[in-house]
Chain length 213, copies 2
DNA sequence: TTGATTTTTGGGGTGATTGCAAAATTGGTG
DNA sequence: CACCAATTTTGCAATCACCCCAAAAATCAA
């Protein structure tokens, strides 16, 4: 059965509210905008906003699940003969080369960043997301390496790998904030990835190599 | 001049409110207790509570600053000839041996933990604290190693070292939650620290060795 | 068009958090 | 000891996020 008008309209409404909210947040900051204002600007009732977004943060922090799951997914889908670390580092380098938003390299990311940094609520949310990503990746690594539940390595390796991504992201954000051009910052980030990679032990770099089928 | 009665009374009031609040949170959980209830139980007005504690979380999350600063302080005060990593790992092992609350090994930590885990608000706060600790340690490592502002290593090493502590803490909490005795869990944690240490590269383990004077 | 289903809305809370000014408390003074 | 000045506590009113419920409006299927 084809997807009905109802479904489409719901999606549109949700998207519309999200867009309006993001616009207002970008203009005036997260805390300064009230849900009531968003509802008014989007021409819906406050209750409708809550119908689609459980909390105010969710109006801004989109695709949380995707961000949390991506490292795990990349590991699961790594090529045969490739380690978990290599899969993530390769993708990280590619994200940088492609100026992907995942690593903060995209138009308008700057204002975006300011909105987040200026809101304790959003900062806390981001930290929580990162924590979830670490945990998720730890679970995945444990499975992929068939490690014992008592083995502390998967969790710690997850910390290291997510930490590396985070350090890169922060470095990029700082570079852009200081007025560096996107290309220069990206090149710089690639160099830093190399340096950080050299701080990983061989054990970590070669953890959970996928069996050749 | 000696500390006046006023100062003493303020401290007492603050402590009293904190104690009452903590007691209620432990009994009924964080979200289930309202500020009004705390005020009533402590026999002060709601405004007085806010006089001492800026937010509800602050009634529970005590000594945040101390937790954030401790890794940095330990690194700054490390012995001559000792690396940053070694200072932190040594202290971590000692905390475990001493059953220190820092690593979750102390009486009553279990209920404490449940209160936190069951409250998204508190979890978010803890993640934020950890984030701050990483950042703080990164700054300190950069100073101690006299590293260039562009050098990505201090930040990433900070991630690794705080991550290790975090992984240990989680392991301990899990062990206790599964009913392990404190001594057994502590012994286990020490073994895990060894394993995790073996996942750190030599570069990290020997970073920022303090000059002999 | 109708009846069922789903979405939107309105209205009425609760609870955290803030601002302000009055009231109570405390420290020292004469 | 009574009194003024500084400090703390309190009461009151608001704002805002968020929740619950029932009525109204929109949509779908027959």
């Amino acid at each position: 059965m084809a997807e009905g008008l109802r479904e489409r309209k719901k999606r549109q409404t949700k998207q519309h509210i999200s867009d309006v909210a993001t616009g207002l947040f970008m203009e005036r900051g997260f805390e300064a905008v009230t849900i009531a204002e968003i509802a008014e600007a989007a021409e819906v009732s406050v209750n409708t906003v809550y119908n689609y977004f459980p909390t105010k943060e969710d109006l801004f922090v989109d695709r949380e699940e995707e961000v949390v799951d991506r490292p795990s997914r990349l590991v699961r889908e790594r090529a045969a003969g490739q380690s978990a670390a290599r899969a993530l580092m390769d993708q990280l380098r590619q994200d940088i080369r492609e100026r992907h938003a995942y690593v903060g390299l995209s138009e308008g990311y700057d204002r975006f960043r300011r909105v987040i940094v200026e809101s304790p609520t959003l900062m806390a949310r981001l930290f929580a997301i990162q924590g979830k990503a670490v945990h998720q990746l730890g679970v995945t690594l444990r499975e992929e390496a068939a490690a014992d539940p008592e083995d502390p390595r998967p969790d710690f390796i997850a910390h290291q790998l997510v930490g590396l991504q985070n350090a890169v992201l922060r470095s990029i954000i700082r570079g852009l904030a200081e007025g560096g051009g996107v290309d220069a910052v990206a090149e710089d980030a690639l160099r830093k990835v190399d340096v950080m990679e050299s701080l990983l032990s061989d054990t970590v770099l070669n953890y959970a190599v996928k069996n050749t089928p």
